[in-house]
Amino acid sequence: MTKQTRYFLLGSATTLLLGLAVGVFAYYGGLSGIASMQSTGVARDLEYVPADATVVAYANVREVMTSEMRQRVKRFEPEGDKGKKEFEDKTGVDIDSDIDRVLACVTPDASGNSSPEGGGFVLARGRFNQVKIEGLVREQGGRAEQYNGIQLLVYEPGKQKKDRFALAFVEPGLLAMGSSGGVRKAIDSKRGGKSIRSKPEVMKQIEAIDEGNVWAVGRFDVLTEQAHLPREMAGKLPPINMFSASGRVNGGVSGTITAQASDEQAANNLRDVVRGMLALARLQSGGNPQVQNLLQSLQMGGSGTSVSISFTIPVELLDAFAPKKGRAVVQP
Amino acid sequence: MTATAQPLVEATTLSKWYGQVIGLNDVTVSVPAGVTGLLGPNGAGKSTFMKLMTGQLKPSKGTIAVFGEPIWGHPHLFFRIGFCPEQDAFYESMTGLEWLTGLLRLNGLDEKSATTAAQHSLVTVDLVEAADKKIGSYSKGMRQRVKLAQAIAHDPALLILDEPLAGMDPIGRRKTIRLIKDWARAGKSVIVSSHILHEIEAMTSNILLIHNGRILAEGDVHQIRDLIDEHPHTVYIRAQHPRELARTFLEHDDVLSLKVESDAVVVQTARPDAFYSRLTDLAASSESGEIAEITSPDDNLQAVFQYLVK
């Protein structure tokens, strides 16, 4: 074997092994998703999400609000900025510019069922007028409580315990609001309790979300279990462990919905079902070009146990579905 | 060779057909130890016979045994056989040393022993200086010599050489002939083919005459020699200064005709032995410039064989 050949083989094998090593390191060492999340600060906010959360959702409010898509949708709103103005007057928060991002989650309540009212909360990061917001809650009958060194404003519109609403500035610029139990769990998670970041199966899904400015990840198996469905119906549901949905709101909306099946066989079955639905939908779309375009953009993907559907809703499609009055507003 | 000694190569009613074309026709012959020349014009069946005795071709009919064993399907015999084929084919991008080492490794030698044997072999064929050059850059004579080197490198008991002198310069020819003679003197055997009698004669007097796929005669062939001498022998010499060379040739009366080309001289001579001897001396002295290649068309031998089979 000549030197030239040896060098080639060595170089080639090195490229291959180096690539594999980097990939393995990135896969197990978290070079990838966490890095991108840390750059946006989401990783830090996830420390408030309890480990038993069944659904976690995120939105980059700043990006969504400044998107072309949002500008178009605004034109369709019959009352224009009226609602937004009222909200701003009461809270001092301009949704377009004061909120950077929100992270929401649903956790099981005391009875073990997941519901936003029972154990859900929203974390909003941005620039808030704390005095004005606290004043508003107090005006509505809210009262202050101390919980683990943080002031909670608790408001009880109804008699039931699950109706309790709470709000707290858990960090400067970070507002937690939601069910009283949920906000307390958020504080606990940050203060030494187990957060969602200790759940690798959920984190893997979150880390795998690429480029989305809105996303949600949920534990499908837990949700169906908590739903107490009749046995016959539960038996017909596909064996999905996790699901995720991510999207990018910009000129239009593009996104991916991914389901993580329990094994490859289940994934193949699920793919067959999705293929069947896609084929049927495409056959029935008939002469409607807008619907055909939308269906054409549906693309099945995924590998191994994951099954995904990607889609794109171009902004032109929204125009087509928009009310005529809205379109008239668009004209200069 | 003694009368009881086993023949090196033994063919019995050996025939080889290429479709409708006969390559070798019902040949029964025993090749003894020592140097044997296989003489015949192009297309006579020399190469077919050599391919059969090196197990590259399978007999269509009859048998052929080397060292007492059928050669087809018995590769272990190649420990004792070295073959130098006629075709000018190589792994052009390899150096001479790499190529020889690689082939020697196939003979079971480890890397170090193979390299040593390859270097030794290159010394024998006078190619040490070109050992690390790519074969693609070798001259015709060097290619012939490296081909010979691969045949002798594993020190075989039997060397089978198919037209080994074709395209060599006079000095290379002389050295190769000496090498073959030395090989025989060391108690080993050689079967060498050519279409030029005097080349074969320079190596051995034991000749097998082959024509149209048949062995016409075997043994000492003085008669053939006499017949060939009656026919003018044509020699093609590629040289640096063909005109100067032609002028030198004209001084001798055995030169019957001369034709000067841009880079070669074509000579017809009545006495090839004397002519080749003079040519070798000329090449060694470089008096008339460099002589790159000598070839001889076999028209004269063809005429003799046509006369023989009449």
């Binding site: 074997m1 980097v22 171009p314 | -």
Partner: protein
């Protein structure tokens, strides 16, 4: 001197042939074939990095991992692997015959079959070490380190690499046999890979079982890209064998054809043209 064993002889033929195979004119063709997806990935990456526009297929903006999956399906598995199998596999013995260098190998104290096996190993090393790094480069260009989809798609990359190596091995042994047996092996190879295999895969029934692609495709971790309604309907009727069954059949093809190829070389007489 001891005769090298079959395996040793194969390895020595491998050593002798690897450089010749690697630095041959055919490698320029391989470099072009394998370099084109790298170039394509580079362009996509540059477009993404420049923020000009997201990569779209029929108006759908798709991420790097999905493009990578498409390239594995469309370029590597359906084109590059069979093409390299055809052009290298059929030439294992044919090149030596055409160049008349086979004489030097057939007049050595080694079994003739080892010549085929050694050259096959050289083919496999040569193609694997060119194709797989190219796949690796394409992957990291499309799914850069730090991107979130690396986490979900990396295990698929490992499967892809194994799958492509297996494809090269199986197609190589099949066309190695064809090259050892037939006079015009390339024509047969092209008809088989781009005629027979494509046609057999379209129609439902048992014919597809007589293709290599059927078993290879069953192991692909990425969903098959299908844009048309016809494609979606076809996909509904597309049955795929289980991974284990596919692996078993591919192993059988691989070893079976390699054995047949070696046996053919062992027994067949090759007449060099004068």
């Amino acid at each position: 001197m001891r005769a090298p064993s079959y395996w040793q002889a194969s390895l020595r033929i491998f050593e002798l042939s690897l450089g010749e195979m690697l630095w041959s004119r055919r490698t320029i063709f391989m470099a072009l074939v394998v370099g084109s997806p790298v170039l394509l990935a580079g362009v996509i990456r540059a477009i993404e990095a420049a923020g000009i526009a997201g990569f779209r297929v029929e108006s759908l903006r798709i991420n790097g991992a999905t493009i990578f999956g498409m390239l594995i399906w469309v370029l590597y598995l359906r084109f590059i692997v069979p093409v390299l199998g055809i052009f290298y596999g059929t030439a294992l013995i044919a090149d030596e015959i055409e160049d008349k260098t086979i004489t030097y190998l057939f007049t050595r104290p080694i079994p003739r079959g080892a010549v085929l096996v050694g050259k096959y190993l050289a083919y496999l090393t040569c193609t694997i070490l060119v194709v797989l790094p190219s796949v690796m480069l394409v992957y990291f260009l499309l799914v850069p380190i730090g991107s979130a989809s690396l986490v979900s798609s990396f295990p698929s990359l490992v499967t892809d690499l194994g799958l492509l190596a297996l494809g090269l091995a199986v197609y190589g042994s099949l066309f190695g046999f064809v090259g050892a047996r037939l006079k015009r092996p390339v024509v047969f190879g092209l008809v088989f890979a781009f005629g027979w295999e494509q046609a057999a895969l379209i129609f439902p029934g048992y014919l597809r079982r007589f293709t290599v692609a059927y078993y290879l495709q069953a192991l692909v971790p990425h969903a098959m890209p299908e844009q048309s309604t016809l494609g979606a309907v076809q996909a509904l009727f597309r049955d795929a064998p289980s991974g284990l069954v596919s692996l078993a059949w591919l192993a059988l093809f691989w070893l079976g054809f390699l054995f047949l190829a070696a046996r053919t070389v062992e027994r067949r007489e090759y007449v060099l043209e004068q």
